[in-house]
Amino acid sequence: MTLDAKIPGGPLAQKWDRHRFELKLVNPANKKKFDIIVVGTGLAGASAAATLAELGYNVKNFCIQDSPRRAHSIAAQGGINAAKNYSNDGDSVWRLFYDTVKGGDFRAREANVYRLAQLSCNIIDHCVAQGIPFARDYGGLLDNRSFGGAQVSRTFYARGQTGQQLLLGAYSSLMRQAASGRVKIFPRRELMDLVVINGQARGIVVRNLINGQLESHDAHAVVLATGGYGNVFCLSTNAMSSNASAIFRAYQKGACLANPCFTQIHPTCIPVHGTYQSKLTLMSESLRNDGRVWVPKQPGDKRSADSIPEEQRDYYLEKKYPSFGNLVPRDVASRNAKEQCDLGKGVGETGLAVYLDFTDAIKRDGRDVVSSKYGNLFDMYEKITGDNPYETPMMIYPAVHYTMGGLWVDYNLMSTIDGLFVLGEANFSDHGANRLGASALMQGLADGYFIIPYTIGGYLAGTRFPAVDAGHEEFKNCEASVHQKTARLLKIKGKRTASDFHRELGLIMWDYCGMSRNETGLSKALGMIRKLKQEYWENVNIPGTGDEFNQSLERAGRVADFFEFGELMIVDALHRKESCGCHFNTAYQTEENEAKRDDENFAYVAAWEYAGSGSDPILHKEPLIFENVKLSQRSYK
């Protein structure tokens, strides 16, 4: 296998225009002859499905939840970036491009990132036209805020519910197309297998979650927009049904998985407080605009926040990074929080938390202003913890949040399987080793509204399709293997629940493949996971049958894949003998304890090819060539 990223020639700023001109077009009258499957209804999936239908294709759109509107994107809080420069503070497409490449610690493709920055402006235009109630200033124009890793104000937001509003916009466009009949929606369906015939992705097998029945669907192309795999860690800010299964099935069918070890730990989440806990809640990073992060100077200081005088507080981010202060990128903020807690300066019952304090902001701007910006976040915090952040500082701690790795895609967002396209968090494309805040929503929507509609046309127009339908024998084979796997899981009837195993797996991943890693820990974790996985297949207890609504079975299938995925993440982390962005190997750090890259040997995308169960995956390298930015040591001082 050779990886060809298909990056168009010519100067960076003209690549996308040129490529659009060079892509073949599907004659408008022919579009309705093409069937496209879109799996996922998050920002990436819903925007893609709606837009492809607007163009005239026949679209089938699948999701796990009971309605497309509930995809995990709904939970995004803080905002979406765009290089509009409405703030007149020096932003430009180039600066957004540069910030993203630098924020990603120089492990992303220049051409993709530049295109993303270019399209960012179109997204905001389209979303406003859809009726998204973005925040506005008193003159009636759109308001912006700042996010970590940037010194300009380029983040558009809708209170603390930006993801919800953007998703409802995409969902409304999708519903409009569903009404027109060009999209058929299949909710409560879970992808169980990808069907590849003659080297082309031609369909999927899904389980109808209401009655357990398998269904086969054929198409000319398949688009996966199934989100991230952060739930490998069990506790994360992801929704409960977020999974690695969909992209893992594609991997097993020949799509390479890129940089799986690049996972982002978000610095501002509500700390863990019990073993029963089912998920971690993010407190938007936008809070760092006005909240000040601190811990007591004295390790072991157990006094309450208000009884620690100013001079005995350590505002460690402001001290260490005077120019970015509390707004350093996420990986830097997270590692510093861990470092403070490791020094014994952590606060709260577990000592695994730092303060995020709004006292000064409230003094400066008044409670009303603070409440208008963050009211709903404060309420959410109080609901969960019982503490009132207007009165006592919030306690926060890092939590798994986003996965930069994902299926490898070329410039057209096509994977290494012909006709399998991957959008949104499910692909690896634009964020390198660390994603900047407010950039995932931008990427998902750029992929869905403005990239796939062109690139899929190029593929469809330039490809010959042998006649295939869901009666094809390969669909039968896939269904049979799904049945077999389900039967095997159900037969075990052991002693432990799938959730119980999941929790144990998550802890291993968090301890050894989380915020910082080292070779000994990773190797140890690999052994632990393999052992636990073996026990899983001997001792998991799944009640019920496969022919009914069975949430335990759903979960068990996903956990089975988390084991496989966790292993691959560790293999990837072990092989990358450098630190970069969120991949922080303690053996490779600068004197200032920052990630120390090895550009000579590791400036590449690691794309793993499946080699069969029990065999080591095969590594392919896509070299990253930087023609427009100078690789430098990131510094946020």
Partner: protein, 251 residues
């Protein structure tokens, strides 16, 4: 805050499938931390049921942070429980006392069929949106985002309506199973904004018609919907819907 441990008795609606008759079954939930969310409490009960070879309680949930609208049950007669402005996943056990009995039932409304236990089919809500809950704009043709200034108060009012999470509690709470709050929220959100005005009449007319067609009841101003809505959607949105509808019918 510090967590306490409490013991509870649950009476939960069990119904193994849509066509089978259900009933309330009693379970005990012991040693529940008051820091748990309601759904985490159910997780604990379910883990024990599985260990004892029993069928766990099916309930819908996903984000567990009050935004996806997937969760929801009637708890002691109240949709999403007794805390106001709170989804079931954000209801915490510190609002219950040791020894409490909690009755948990699915949304009950004609258009929402039970799938299993507490899980119901809410696809009628998607159908309502399909009837007109959108602005007809294709990707690609939009003018610059700042081309049309929108007064901040207008944007805020539109937002208040747009905050609906589509959970269906308003319908479950309404004695007539009316979807007026849900539809009112969408109609208001879009018709308040200049972008949504051209289609405002058509939208109101079609969504109301669809509501009747799907078997939702009429609004008789009970205001139960507003009381149970986890997102504080106001019945003013219903008044706005009525105005839009009247405009549509008489023009």
């Amino acid at each position: 805050m510090s967590a306490k441990r409490i013991n509870l008795t649950l009476k939960v609606w069990r119904q193994s499938a849509g066509e089978i008759i259900g009933s309330l079954k009693t379970y005990s939930a012991s040693d529940i931390s008051t820091d748990m969310s309601f759904l985490e409490m159910l997780d604990v009960v379910n883990e024990n049921l599985i260990k004892n070879g029993e069928d766990p309680i099916a309930f819908d949930h996903d984000c567990r942070e009050g935004i996806c609208g997937m969760c929801g049950s009637v708890v002691n007669g109240r949709a999403h429980g007794h805390e106001s402005n709170t989804t079931l996943c954000q209801l915490h056990m510190r609002h219950f006392s040791d020894g409490d009995t909690i009755v948990i039932e699915p949304w009950r409304a004609k258009p929402f069929k039970v799938i299993k236990d507490l899980v119901v089919d809410r696809s009628a809500l998607d159908e309502l949106i399909q009837a007109g809950g959108f602005i007809s704009v294709n990707a690609g043709g939009a003018p610059d985002a700042n081309a049309i200034p929108i007064a901040r108060e207008t944007a805020e009012a539109a937002f208040n309506a747009a905050a609906c999470i589509g959970c269906g509690a308003c319908i479950a709470a309404c004695p007539n199973a009316s979807a007026m709050l849900f539809v009112g929220a969408k109609v208001s959100h879009l018709s308040l904004l200049p972008q949504g005005k051209p289609e405002a009449k058509k939208r109101a007319r079609q969504m109301v018609r669809k509501m009747k067609e799907l078997g939702f009841g009429n609004c008789s101003n009970e205001a139960e919907c507003e009381a149970e809505c986890p997102k504080g959607i106001s019945i003013r949105e219903i008044a706005r819907l009525n105005r839009e509808f009247i405009k549509a019918e008489f023009s």
